[in-house]
Symmetry: C2
Subunit: 118 residues, 2 copies
Amino acid sequence: MDALTINEAAETTGWSPRMLRYIESIGLLQSRRSPAGYRLYGPEELQRLRTLRELLAEFDVGLSEMGFALRLRREEDLASAVDAWLEAEAERPEDVDAADWLRFEQEKHQRLLAAALS
Amino acid sequence: MDALTINEAAETTGWSPRMLRYIESIGLLQSRRSPAGYRLYGPEELQRLRTLRELLAEFDVGLSEMGFALRLRREEDLASAVDAWLEAEAERPEDVDAADWLRFEQEKHQRLLAAALS
DNA sequence: AAAACCTTGACACGACCTCGGTAAGGTTGG
DNA sequence: CCAACCTTACCGAGGTCGTGTCAAGGTTTT
């Protein structure tokens, strides 16, 4: 049969059995079950589990964040609300502010320097 | 002048001053600054802050999750990696599994019932 | 020049998340 | 029938999140 039980799957994917159950509990990847309720992982799932590990490590992302990404894809209205809110961020204020800020920073450094020297 | 300082902004948006700084620290919304470094919130920002509150409450989302959504929008390769991974989830296994699972559940209930009655 | 702001930085804390471990019990294979 | 699996459910250590609060110091207003 073309499927591994949880401990074997853990072995070849680098996850712990505990984590495989946890991953399932957040809805990220659930395996099929044997008639007795044993989790069975096929090649498809095993590959996905490995990919998931790489993804998390490479981008320093957590499982809960993947869970949120999943939510964003499932809940259309959430996704559009979030998107709309983030969209507004695009309208950056004019650069006068940046200039003000820069000036402030310079002055601060001068002040600090003056304080240090006195 | 058409901008509020942090305590005033807190007042009208329902956030605490502490949280306004926190929100800024996670990169969700930063205000412009007065020459002395005081945060100044314009009507635009105030509205966005109110909207943010509603969004979080309505969908039961946290600030850190909004932060991740922002990350997804900023880091193109992250977004595509996450998307690709979630995409694979679409390929649902055939319904034989569902049938198996259902059968298992039924049997389990029978077992539990039997145990309870004995 | 004092009162009332603002700044950053730090400490603290409760609630929750992450994850290993263990217990109690069903399943499987030699 | 027993060893070696599997299941769910729970405990607990350590970390993160979301907040308040305080200290030390600069700014604005009166």
